[in-house]
Amino acid sequence: MAEFVMPALGADMDAGTLIAWKKQPGDRVTKGEIIAEIDTDKAAIDVEVFTTGVIERLLVQPGEKVPVGTVLALIREEGEARGAGPEARGEEIAAPAVAAPPGRLKISPAARKLAEALGVDPESVRGTGPDGAVTREDVQRAAAPLAPRPAPLAVGGEAADKQARMRQAIAAAMARSKREIPHYYLGTTIELSRMTGWLAEENRRRAVTDRLLPAVLLLKAVALALREVPELNAVWKEDRAVRSEAIHVGVAISLRQGGLVAPALHDTDRRSLDELMRALRDLVQRARAGSLRSSELSDPTITVTNLGEMGVETVFGVIYPPQVALVGFGKVVERPWVAEGTLVARPVVTVTLSADHRVTDGHRGGVFLAAIDRLLQEPDRL
């Protein structure tokens, strides 16, 4: 029997509220299908299932707020007999502690996931479960002194509460980032006349509905550069960097009510500019409408933030854990530029890299920024 659990949708989430079930017991579900809607401190999220099977039982009711890792439903997988597991017989479901050799930590997957989300080192937690196994409650107790105390919520109704909770969630993630990740920062200025010229010509030929934004080219260049420096496309997990084969660029999107989210543009490196433009429009619209999918919040392997429209020229970003890098783009501005010995005015942008020094060093970061520059000089090949 597969367990459908409250997902950890980022380092800043330790609990979620079930808003609604989209499926009922007996319904067949397919991997990737949305079966529940949950409310995090940031947004309402459509949660996808990662198993194909039939809903056996729903264990949490709409309106309940539960910690990350809590089993929300049981799903009978294909080929599995109905009512086979102890859960189906109504027996209490105990969080399974992973069998471990003597001397090694015993901890359930749910507790380990919660520890990761809360920034708690499981090895430092005293386990109170069977045979000293670390439980979710142990992790929560251990996390309590680390978590920033919630600021008093401002008076101003539900929207203000929501905004305050989002601020607290961002505060927790960013404080964890600065506490745990040894950042280093690199920046370079990229001459963009080829890109802006190509884009203007391209958009001149296109109908208004098919036009591209510069952001799409920048995102694609970042994704292709990650193929050349794959160690930046990773997450920090259990004291080591785990590289991701897939490149899912998280796009920082500011929300109108305040705060931001950074959902994934899946397979950014493998999609055409047109596909990326359509996907980005959809992502921004859904982010602001509060209808993102769980995988979009849990899958980013790096984040890109673009503050150029706010007039910012240089971004010094804070890495979103467990990612190990963040790329920032500033405003495209006309600047004096020396080309073949002649001083000319050219559009330029400053791109910065914030990276985790446990994973990469400045040399590799420099290679990455140089790759972005090179790729943007050939926009027709993006």
Binding site: R204, R211, R256, R281, E309
Partner: protein, 97 residues
């Protein structure tokens, strides 16, 4: 008799579309002669969606090079009236649903 939309029709359409893009904005305080990107905190994606919505509502082709002319409410009215006169039959705004 011209089929070009009137200034009021264009104003109503522009405000309706801006309201869809920035639903939290107080459009009654919008200053018509100032750029609305800053007044309404509209970014480039919002602006592109606004231009697409104008195109679909008024059936007007809007080259990217003309985007700066749509920066303010007054600019929109002036530009879209001139475009409407050049594109007969493009007058009636329709609901975007």
């Amino acid at each position: 008799m011209s089929d070009a939309p009137t200034a009021k029709e264009i104003t109503d359409t522009v405000l309706r579309l801006l309201g869809q893009i920035a639903p939290e904005a107080d459009l009654s305080s919008l200053k018509p002669d100032l750029g609305f990107r800053d007044q309404l905190d509209i970014d480039s994606m919002d602006f592109l969606n606004f231009v697409i919505a104008l195109h679909e509502a008024l059936h007007v082709e809007i080259p990217e090079a003309d985007y700066p002319r749509l920066a303010s409410l007054n600019g929109c009215v002036e530009y879209l009236r001139s475009r409407g006169r050049g594109q007969a039959g493009a007058a009636q705004p329709r609901s975007l649903g």
